[in-house]
Symmetry: C2
Subunit: 676 residues, 2 copies
């Protein structure tokens, strides 16, 4: 969008708001000037400027028109300020002023939006902490000023930006852009993501969000970004969102936070738990080359920290595999006899700079990344070691992380490492974790992204909340979800023939929109072996429905014993239809061993879901049992997941249970609930 | 022990080793002198001293006898050095020199131990990084010198100490003692723990271990320490130890690292994953008052970080409960209208020092702890806020943690907080986690510690690895572990009578020391309804054992269907007998839903085990099912866990399955393996 040029590379910036010391406007002016931005103008009723910045009473009075307005004047004045901006042909604004929607003043927010629209002004905010573009010396924000670099941070919360950039400043980790979007009244997170996707200065996008309005659109945009660069994300409010009352049986097993997890994972973004993790990953992605496989070499001068790092690397799926015989032979040539040549390679407390360097260079022929641990002594310099590792990293061209501690010049050493693209962490475990996450992003990029065409054969459901079982079964059959053969009869006279056609023994269930949990009221009769029993069952079921809307009975064959699974569909307010899968009974309900995805899923993704549950071995066979029809199950699950798109009125659905055999699957029950 | 006075409060210290610059001995001398220790002597062949430290050729030559020797001379000289020390009546030594057991020189290590014993010298090391007692200005170590304070660190690895104390130095967190014990040839971790337990300068003990020789003794000592002060522990080498081949079926489900987890938990020590967690907890325990309940108030000037901290607090079991109406009324009197009065209390970006203070003081009437989050701006001072929170903490007398970011004087602010016992963390999440761990220690102290008397009625097992099922069942009965009635017969002529006595239908199993997995070879016949079938079954089982050592058959009644659980006993090389519990089949084997404890357990602990598995709801009833006999199960499990103490030859045991009914439990199979 054109407005982003005016936002991030403006020709001139007007700061609207009091320039008196201690006021926001004054602070913003100082930060812009100190940041090195040339054309800054102060706008306030007294036309007060600061130092070399000239003051004006209105944006319209500035002779050389600025294209960006940074507004920090009281909420009540913003509307008029925007009018002036419009007249002065300002193209973009950052509205820092608060006192709009967030305090209940929705009308005020609508008004400023209307004025901006009238003049074609696009804006960030209101109620935000501003924006930065370090590469253009633009610091239109109250937050800490970070060095120039490759991390772009988009945050719903300004203070999160303050913390992250403060760390950046302390550790010398550079940022490209900072965007605090506050109420996001005009430009939204989607716009910012779209912009950053193609921003050449941005290597990694950090995202702090508390809530998302349109989950599907978020996913669409996020997938576009992660195709090009990594996204690291904190979604706060895990427990708060859990308050939402669960809508259905399977829904209650999902949990809203899990929906975010599933959505973010599908999009290839990396969700982290806190700002420390976010910062660690951002610096890794910004500084290091791509990690393409999982073989990690650890080189250390100290045992303890290396053991802990090995534990963590193992746990995160990296391979700390033993060094090869060839590599051992090489290492033996220069490492001392008491060094450990396995992995970790322990070059002992006497470890020299040259040993660190040569070990890394030699090892990188058969490893994909290295962790260099150095624990020094308070009276020695770490710099020679750091310089050697830096050289090794440049020579190797692979991701090297470090864990440096104790020394006369430890901070400078870490800086030398950073300049060579070696990222230092406070523990080796963090380094290992970071590498594992980098690898997960690389692996995501290797897989085709799930793109599902919108359904073209849409269909409608009949009126009424509960879809009766016979129609439910028909809908399943129509959509290639296997069901047993069945007959729906509404007259006892038809019982004999229907049972004959199905073949004894049969099962008979009551059909009534008033009876949802049939088993609970005795509405299911099994083991019906002859016509007499069938007639008796019919009468019994009719009697159960006394006083209720009895529509008849549905007759199935008695199915042989099977492993039972559950399919579920539920709708999330942000992300729309979800699909759930789990084993029947205790596994789903007590052990919460459930797979959840944003619907629909294709067969491949359905298969991943099935394999992702802990109790998958029950389906996979082994221990004297033959494997069950997992392929058929995946096909049925994929087809099932499309139902809410084929039937837009479908609110929720449960197939509980689906019977799984060695050669087939079969929905043994169906419950579809319509929105209407 | 007396030696600890000489170790930690020596009258004089001799450093044995070259005093030439760059040598260990020289560094140690400098560190002792710079640390402020008065009576230091240098001992080396050239009698070289440094600055005001006088040099001698031998310890015996020192006129005023030192009681502590710090030895850094080459391994080969240590024996003679100790001889001299003995003659000079030195009472304790710290042997930093390496080149003993750790490099295979076990003989050398035995020699120095013998000399030390001869003269009654107790020593730390060899191959260690030294010791410190900050309260006596004693820095007999190569590692970073920390401030004086309440954290004692005992570490198998010297560099771990270096890292921890470097952090301590940077953050102003004080240490009382540092002990790097290296090979632990004489004084062991048990001695150090015993000493630190009663050390008045030590408020919290940090422990880094890689392996423990005697797990039971470790537990005994650890329990003594945790009665008096908290212990925070890192046990490294999780995956390495996992390599141990599993000895039995249930053993393979345990995993060695889980044994450490169970042992440490039973002793009330807090096992953490890495040094960062260890450091955070140590500073919390050293600085803050005791946390006695879980109600946490969060006060913040910024939304995002408070939401994340709330999520974490919730996840860790703290209650971030809504403020009461009374408290809200109080807060309303001074907080601005746009402040959030719930919990977190958000006093907004304009939050003043006074608001922070008053909110904490007022809230502490109904909360047990507070987290104060402050995200400042780069151009303002945080000090007034810090001072106010410090005052509030002193007034409240309850644990207050902080999460301070960004400001002109942020480091000084954090120092002011620390001096008032307010512990600052890099994120609010860490603060919440720390509080949760503090609470877990307090809760441990409230519970009686499991003390089980040694068994007095010891018994022996017959010769032979496999105990036959009839004897196994008898052993269970003798130890009050319920079994079904059974008959063991060795002649087909007895079949009819035995079955009659049991009552049809019966089950018949082959008895042979050569057939362990009976079902796999068809060695179990069920559904035997009459004598004819019983005779046929006997012949069949006899035939199965053709060529094997057939001892007869065991006959049980056909038991009604039941919920199946597994009991297991296994021996760990470090911790001895373990007891395992899980649900039968898939739950234990696939879902690894197992409870593990160090055996024996009493009924209360057995009940905790049973309730700790995820699939416990299957036993607890509900959903239309009656609860099963969990009390009986706990009793049986407790009795079972005592078997390896009653039968010291018992190597392992499996009851798989145990049948659980509403009113009873019954071991349906038994497998006991003897050591002999």
């Amino acid at each position: 969008m054109e407005c982003f040029k005016s936002l991030f590379q403006p020709k001139g910036v007007a700061v609207i708001g009091s320039a008196t010391e201690g006021k926001l406007g004054n602070v913003l002016l100082h930060r812009l000037v100190e940041g090195g931005f040339a054309k800054v103008y102060a706008v306030n009723p007294k036309a007060k400027g600061i130092d070399e910045v000239q003051g004006f009473t209105s944006v319209t009075a500035i002779p050389e028109k600025p294209d960006l307005a940074v507004i920090a004047s009281p909420a009540a004045t913003v509307k008029d300020v925007l009018e002036d901006c419009g007249k002065a042909k300002v193209k973009a604004a950052v509205i820092i002023s608060s006192g709009f929607g967030e305090t209940g003043n929705r009308e005020g927010e609508a008004e400023i939006k209307a004025v901006a629209e009238k003049y074609g002004i696009r804006f960030v905010g209101p109620n935000c902490a501003g924006i930065m573009n370090t590469h253009a010396y633009l610091f239109a924000s109250l937050e800490e000023t970070p060095p120039t670099g490759g991390v772009a941070l988009v945050s719903q919360s300004g203070s999160i930006g303050g913390i992250m950039m403060d760390w950046g400043e302390k550790e010398g980790i550079g940022f490209s852009k900072f965007i605090s979007y506050g109420n996001g009244s005009d430009l939204t997170i989607f716009d910012f993501l779209n912009y950053l996707k193609d921003d050449p200065e941005t290597k990694v996008v950090a995202l702090y969000i508390e809530h998302i309005q349109n989950g599907r659109e978020f996913m669409r945009v996020l997938k576009e970004v992660t195709k090009k660069k990594p996204v690291v994300l904190v979604k706060a409010g895990r427990t708060e969102s859990g308050r939402r009352a669960a809508a259905s049986h399977t829904g209650s097993m999902a949990g809203v936070d899990n929906v975010y997890d599933a959505a973010v994972k599908e999009c290839g973004a990396i969700r982290v738990n806190n700002l420390e993790e976010m910062f660690c990953l951002c610096k890794a992605f910004a500084l290091m080359p791509t990690l393409t496989n999982n073989r990690l070499l650890i080189v250390t001068n100290s045992g303890g920290p290396a053991i802990m790092a090995t534990d963590k690397a193992d746990a995160e799926g990296l391979s700390v595999k033993e060094t090869s015989l060839e590599l051992k032979a090489k290492l033996k040539q220069y490492l001392p006899v008491h060094a450990s040549l396995g992995n970790p390679v322990d070059i002992t407390v006497e470890g020299t700079a040259q040993w660190y360097k040569q070990t890394i260079v030699d090892a990188m022929a058969e490893y994909d990344a290295a962790l260099a641990i150095y624990v020094g002594t308070p009276y020695l310099e770490a710099m020679p070691i750091a310089e050697a590792i830096a050289e090794a990293a440049i020579q190797a061209g692979k991701p090297i992380v470090s864990d440096f501690h104790v020394g006369l010049d430890i901070d400078e050493s870490i800086e030398i490492l950073r300049k060579a693209g070696v990222t230092n962490f406070s523990t080796g475990e963090r380094g290992a974790w970071v590498l594992a996450k980098m690898l997960s992003y690389y692996k995501y990029l290797q897989k085709p992204v799930k793109v599902l065409e919108p359904e073209t054969n849409m269909d409608s459901l009949p009126e009424g909340k509960v879809i009766l079982e016979p129609l439910g079964m028909k809908i399943l059959q129509k959509n290639a979800i296997p069901t047993p053969e069945f007959r729906f009869i509404q007259d006892i006279a038809d019982v004999g023939e229907a049972c004959q056609q199905i073949g004894y023994p049969v099962v008979m269930k009551v059909v009534s929109p008033d009876i949802i949990h049939k088993s609970d009221v005795g509405g299911v009769k099994i083991d019906i072996y002859d016509e007499e029993a069938a007639n008796a069952a019919y009468l019994h079921l009719e009697q159960i429905a006394t006083g209720k809307d009895f529509r008849g009975v549905i007759i199935y064959p008695m199915l042989p014993k099977a492993t039972e699974v559950i399919f579920g569909i539920n709708r999330d307010p942000q992300f729309g239809p979800l699909v759930l899968f789990g084993l029947g009974g205790i596994y789903s309900e007590v052990l919460k061993d459930i797979a959840l995805r944003i619907a629909p899923v294709d067969e491949k993704c359905a298969l991943e879901m099935i394999k992702s549950i802990k109790s998958y071995p029950i389906l996979a066979g082994g221990r004297g049992q033959k494997p069950l029809d997992v392929a058929g199950l995946a096909k049925a699950l994929a087809n099932f997941s499309r139902l809410p798109f084929i039937y837009p009125d479908l609110q929720e659905a449960d197939l509980n249970p689906v019977f799984v055999y060695e050669d087939k699957v079969m929905a043994a029950d169906v419950r579809l609930i319509s929105k209407k």
